[in-house]
């Protein structure tokens, strides 16, 4: 059990607390509380603004994770006026959160070392942190980029439209010959206004926004959303549903990991694994499709439980296919580790040190590949993961190899988990009906999606509607990790490094 620090309110993953139990700290105390927590090994899961009803005042909320103590804590402060002193110089992991607060609420993070927009859109308040005149359209990636000057230094700009079938983003490399000094990533092209549209919800669209926040993490985001609704409505969800949610989340992980290992293989020109995995990934998606009729899990997770039950013939069919796929997957992926030319390209490419991971708050396989025991299924378990722990897979070299190998270990663990869960499904209902949402509460839901921690935080207003709905996709933390991993690398290794993270553009842009 954690003891939350003075001024912070303890909260459990998947629960809600009354808003009044979160004291409003003075701004200095709020920042000190974050600094002290981060200094003590905690992480910032979310830091975001919210309206206060007063025109010139913005509330800031923080959710901190104490992974060692398996606890979470929430804090609150208020900012009056047009800005606040930035915490980023003393706590780099909040850098993008502060930029986001500035963009959404039109207040400046004063002293932020790289104060730029995040998604290139207008604020929700009519104010603008960069004083951009109103009639002018805000165009993505327009503005200053970090530049290196000097003889033979050159700049390479890529995107938003890339060569492959991939989402849009803009990448600026500062290079010396082939060597990358610095990479800056500008996103926002996929911004479609999900958080804004969630306000005053739930509506008929809410669950669909969640299922499409990041299409390849449909189960991860929808599960968080369902848990938020359940936490507000104090719904007891059936055990059977919790197990089935776990099965779906692990299927999502396996499908994506297999696909990425295939793509990594393709990026180094090793075609056998690339083509086998391309097919196998699809067959894992087909398992999800057996559950709910959709390869990405649309319709499976619903507040209160799951949208579909499984019967004996279906679990048998799933187990049978899983068994065949397990062997084919191993056959295909193990070729990688035995192949010297693959290993030569994977090893020592795009290394990310453990210190950088901690400083930037990197999550998921990218953190575990740099030696961190950071897995919310283990640290902040909810649902089935409270009863069945999946061993945390780590590596320590932090390079492309490590990120690939961690995924391979996770594939094996997840398949074993799915198999054992399918064999021991608890009987009973699969969906409870959630009641009305309790007013004036804050809820947190965290799940380990395949890319890492998916964190949703929501606040209800007086009438039990969402006053604020914050979504943190793991990519939000990890894009900076990719930029760091590219330093001092060959620019030709970019596709490989990029794929080893395989981050979401739409999950970041929302």
């Amino acid at each position: 059990m954690t003891r939350a620090r003075a001024g912070l309110a303890p909260i459990h993953n998947g629960n809600s607390i009354r808003l009044e139990t979160i004291p409003t700290l003075g701004f200095g105390d709020f920042q000190d509380a974050i600094l002290a927590a981060v200094g003590g090994g905690q992480r910032v899961c979310a830091l975001f603004g919210a309206g206060t009803g007063k025109p010139d005042t913005t509330a800031l909320y923080v959710v901190l994770a104490d992974d060692a103590g398996n606890g979470l804590a929430a804090g609150r402060t208020e900012v009056a006026g047009s800005g606040f002193p930035s915490l980023t110089p003393r706590c780099p992991s909040v850098h993008l959160f502060e930029r986001e607060i500035a963009e959404q609420f039109g207040i400046r993070a004063v002293g932020h070392p790289w104060f730029k927009p995040v998604r290139y859109s207008r604020s929700w308040t009519g104010r603008d942190a960069w004083d951009r005149p109103l009639p002018e359209a805000i165009l993505p990636a327009v503005g200053d980029f970090y530049r290196v000057e000097g003889e033979q230094v050159h700049e390479v700009a890529v995107g938003p439209v890339h060569a492959g079938v991939i989402e849009p983003g803009h990448f600026r490399f500062q290079c010396h010959g082939e060597k990358v000094f610095h990479l800056e990533i500008a996103l926002g092209y996929q911004h479609r206004g999900i958080e804004e549209a969630m306000e005053r919800g739930p509506t008929a669209r809410s669950i669909h926004y969640m299922e499409t926040a990041a299409g390849d993490t449909t189960i991860g985001h929808a599960t968080c959303y369902a848990q938020i609704v359940e936490a507000f409505s104090l719904t007891q969800k059936p055990a059977r549903a919790q197990v089935l949610r776990g099965v779906a989340l692990e299927l999502e992980r396996v499908a994506n990991h297999v696909g990425d290992l295939g793509a990594l293989s393709g990026d180094v020109g090793f075609l056998p694994t690339a083509s086998f995995c391309g097919r196998i990934r699809g067959d894992f998606l087909n398992l999800t499709s057996l559950l709910c009729g959709n390869r990405f899990g649309r319709g499976f997770i619903r507040p209160g439980g799951v949208g579909f039950d499984v019967d004996r013939p279906l679990t048998d069919e799933l187990s049978r296919r899983l068994h065949a796929l397990e062997r084919e997957t191993a056959d295909s992926i193990n070729l990688l580790w035995d192949n010297q030319s693959v290993m030569a390209r994977f090893e020592d490419t795009g290394p990310l040190s453990g210190e950088t991971v901690v400083a930037l708050g990197i999550v998921g396989p990218a953190a575990r590949a740099s030696g961190l025991m950071r897995d919310t299924r283990y640290d902040q378990p909810s649902g089935i993961y409270r009863f069945f722990q999946i061993p945390v897979s780590t590596c320590d070299s932090g390079d492309v190899f490590a990120r690939a190998y961690v995924r391979w270990m996770e594939i094996q663990q997840s398949i074993a988990f799915i198999r054992s869960q399918l064999a021991n499904l608890p009987p009973g209902e699969t969906c409870a009906v959630p009641g009305a949402l309790e007013p004036e509460r804050l809820a947190v839901a965290i799940n380990e999606g395949w890319r890492g921690e998916v964190c949703h935080v929501a606040i209800t207003d007086k009438s039990g509607r969402f006053a604020r709905y914050k979504i943190v996709d793991p990519s939000f933390h990890n894009w900076s990790g990719l930029a760091q991993a590219l330093r001092d690398q060959e620019i030709s290794d970019f596709p490989l490094c990029n794929k080893s993270f395989n981050l979401s553009y739409c999950g970041h842009d929302l």
């Binding site: 390849d216 086998f276 699809g282 499709s289 009729g293």
Partner: protein, 266 residues
């Protein structure tokens, strides 16, 4: 080397035989074309009851005559669950692509469905055996992108029909757009389109690209490709199943289905 050969033998031949043989079986729970049963959704109460259209998150059902717009529909089945008479059902029919926006709207008693017709002779002559496409993701959630790129893998291998994604718009015969077209992607999409030499085609893949999907009406998006480019092929779904996409493209290239008319239940 030995291990690789062994793995190759074990993995076997995996490409589906469609369209020469029947399409691979889809799971029972697959949601294909939705349809209203005219006997259960009776004409006399049709205009009164709005359970289905009220439940629809994206306004795909006309409240008066209960026609469903497949271009808007995200196949969520909320309407099916809401209907007190059990009149809405989802069939396993994956053939959904159409050439005109009108053909995507299906009425309660519609007997003949109009699927995608082939390109005209000249265009078919140009693209019939080689269609190179540039994919542009313009606000998609990544699912459409994933399920079109899967068509290039060995399981589907649409290279068999000369269809391929290419890296540059200069090498392309058209674009396949996913996503509702965010305002932040509008310029990039236009520039990509302009960079493709004519004659060229536009394919809108998924409900977002057709009509905005779940984001329809948001300030940040343009509610589909049609708002800025003329669309030649609409592929419904959220995301479209790879089979739906393949079927649509093969129809477009005149490789299956003659005039695109099939009767319901066929």
């Amino acid at each position: 080397m030995y291990k690789q050969i062994l793995a190759r033998i074990r993995q076997g031949h995996r490409t589906i035989r469609f369209p020469k043989a029947v399409a691979p079986a889809l799971p029972d729970r697959f949601r294909g074309r939705p349809c209203f049963d005219a006997r259960l959704c009776r004409a006399e109460c049709r205009a009164e009851c709005r359970a289905c259209s009220d439940a629809c998150p994206v306004g795909a059902i006309d409240p008066l005559n209960k026609s469903i717009d497949l271009g808007k529909c995200i196949f969520c089945t909320d309407c099916m669950r809401a209907c007190p008479g059990g009149a809405v059902a989802f069939s396993g029919d994956y053939r959904l692509a159409a050439r005109s926006r009108r053909d995507l709207v299906i009425t309660v008693d519609q007997e003949t469905l109009i699927l995608a017709q082939a390109l005209d002779r000249r265009m078919k002559g140009l693209f019939g055996r080689s269609l190179k496409l540039r994919q542009v993701s313009a606000g998609g959630c990544g699912a459409c992108e994933a399920d079109v790129s899967v068509l290039g893998t060995i399981g589907w291998d649409w290279g068999r029909f000369g269809i391929q994604f290419v890296a540059s718009p200069r090498h392309a015969d058209g674009i396949l757009v996913t996503g509702p077209v965010t305002k932040n992607m509008e310029l990039a999409l236009r520039k990509t389109w302009d960079a493709i030499p004519g004659p060229k085609i536009v394919i809108a893949s998924g409900s977002c690209a057709i009509a905005g999907g779940p984001y329809a009406g948001h300030d940040q998006v343009l509610d589909g490709v049609e708002s800025i480019l003329p669309v030649d092929l609409y592929i419904p779904g959220c995301p479209p199943h790879p089979l739906t996409t393949l079927d649509g493209l093969l129809r477009l290239l005149g490789k299956i289905g003659r005039n695109g008319r099939v009767s319901r239940g066929d």
